[in-house]
Symmetry: C2
Subunit: 371 residues, 2 copies
Amino acid sequence: MEEIRVKAASREYDVLVGEGAISEQLPRLVSGREAGQVVVVSHPHLLSLHGEELGSALCDAGHVAWEKRVFLFPEGEEHKRPVTVIALQELMLEWGVTRKGVVLAFGGGVVGDLTGYAAATYMRGMDYIQLPTTLVAMVDSSVGGKVGVDMPGAKNAVGAFHQPLAVIADPGLLSTLPRRELLGGMAEVIKYGFLYDERLLTLEGGSEGWVRLTEWERAEIIARCVRHKAAVVEKDERDLAGERAMLNYGHTFGHALEAATGYVTLRHGEAVAVGMIMAARAAEDAGKARVPLLELHRKLLSPLLQEAPSLEGIDAQKVIDAMRSDKKREREAKFVLLERPQRPLLVEGLPEEVVKRAVEETLGDLWPENS
Amino acid sequence: MEEIRVKAASREYDVLVGEGAISEQLPRLVSGREAGQVVVVSHPHLLSLHGEELGSALCDAGHVAWEKRVFLFPEGEEHKRPVTVIALQELMLEWGVTRKGVVLAFGGGVVGDLTGYAAATYMRGMDYIQLPTTLVAMVDSSVGGKVGVDMPGAKNAVGAFHQPLAVIADPGLLSTLPRRELLGGMAEVIKYGFLYDERLLTLEGGSEGWVRLTEWERAEIIARCVRHKAAVVEKDERDLAGERAMLNYGHTFGHALEAATGYVTLRHGEAVAVGMIMAARAAEDAGKARVPLLELHRKLLSPLLQEAPSLEGIDAQKVIDAMRSDKKREREAKFVLLERPQRPLLVEGLPEEVVKRAVEETLGDLWPENS
């Protein structure tokens, strides 16, 4: 079992990574709670796949009637909305859940973000535990306390900073993860490689590489990513000092790509993979890169797009427009670019033609029918 | 101008109290903001009464197009709901408001609580300024950062702790406050008197007393209450240490009374006034009171109920049931009772028959047709 301590300013907590971690660690975290005060939030499919493990951990802790406090909602970013949070909170009120209860977020990033936000605002704040079931959520979104929901045209526009009581990441759960989800998660792993960790850049071959890893290696990779994330959150919990902004490598391009395709075409990790290739191109084009970046990015990231649908017909201009509307909202036209791997820079005022070329050439390169 | 510094753990800020305070203080607080980044939240009636003063303060600060960023919603606790927050936040997104913007809450407790919550969660937190227009909001709800909205049957069930950038209380605005609202505010003033401040208990005669006061005295009374509130918030911002719970004097009974009457019969301050009389009765009955309390409570508080409708026909049992459901939600059957004025106690496990007698006898006494 890997234990990573996250020393955020508002709260310290552990991220526990390892095969069987939920059975092993969850009972002691919920055993002190009153009956009926443990709520599970998840998707129907996930609970039918892994509900038994989760259920026995809860029964071990004395919560034998745990199924009476389950909130399930359909998969998909389109359900990460205020209305879903309100439905969950109304049920919790009906159930008599108090601020001394705890909510378990059993799922990927959508479940984690939404559950964390519901917990942040229920009775002005209650505990929640992240039980990530996807690789993206294990290495990134479950750690750090950024929670929230989407508004029309604006991802995560409403939310809070609310650290979990604990994060328990069991790589065993990934055995049922669709290959495409795994590839998306690998993109976030590679992101940590480009930002901080040369060793993570030796993970070649996309998901085939993941399958060949031993369980120990998988836990080790997840723990490495979490350690990097924890270090950033400790320095800059509220995203004010520029440190946490670095984690957005590939995300300015990636978010725009997601927005331009209505959030349904690409998985988040895929969009970030494409976004990092665009960022590499932009870094070379703008003269920020001190070493060649594009080839390494293509080699590591394009295998992760194997299952992504073609973006044929996506207009580069639409992507740029989406970026502009994102920029307007944030008033921070900032890009994370690399001087070289493990040397990120926050760049303001990147020339529009550089951005445009990066988008057009990357789309044309990955989906040649576009050009 | 009275300036009270609130040293909350999460943020320090000033409460500025005085006739003309908005014209005098607001411009410097918003002058640095970009055009279009100042949002006003209020009620239609309020803005038609006092919009000119507010508007000229904003124009003085360069925000001449301020009227393009105004969100108005109808008065009444029934609009303090998540759906109103979502409507406001969607508009703010459309307007391109960023997390560097500021929202002005120009109204009573409903406007302040709702606006503060919208600001707490918009882009994970942005600034807001409290511009209270009622006595209740000036002396109590605008200070301390408790923000939120109601859910079905559960007041303030969803919310956050989010301190304002500043509070500006101009007692001049109270000249147009309906007499009934003023009386409700006096109940909160008297609450501070019972909890902390003998001098505030010399304010006899209900709103007639208020009318006879000089402007200077009004500002002084508001400032005294704010100083007491600030001291409590400094010690116990998040309501964890029991200090902040003291401010709920009269509220356990009062909330139950509001719930039992559907939140439409009594104003909040009126319910608290009745609640304090019930608490005085309970303190005497349970042997907690070291001096007689009931007579002083009746003398100071019953004049504040002059405009309240009769509670004839309200069943005491309904009030007790509402308290029980509130208790269940909170799992804290705590009452604030007085040993003597300025000597509050937090009492757990008050016998049910004491609670029942306090409710029944007070209702029967205030509205004799009930008994």
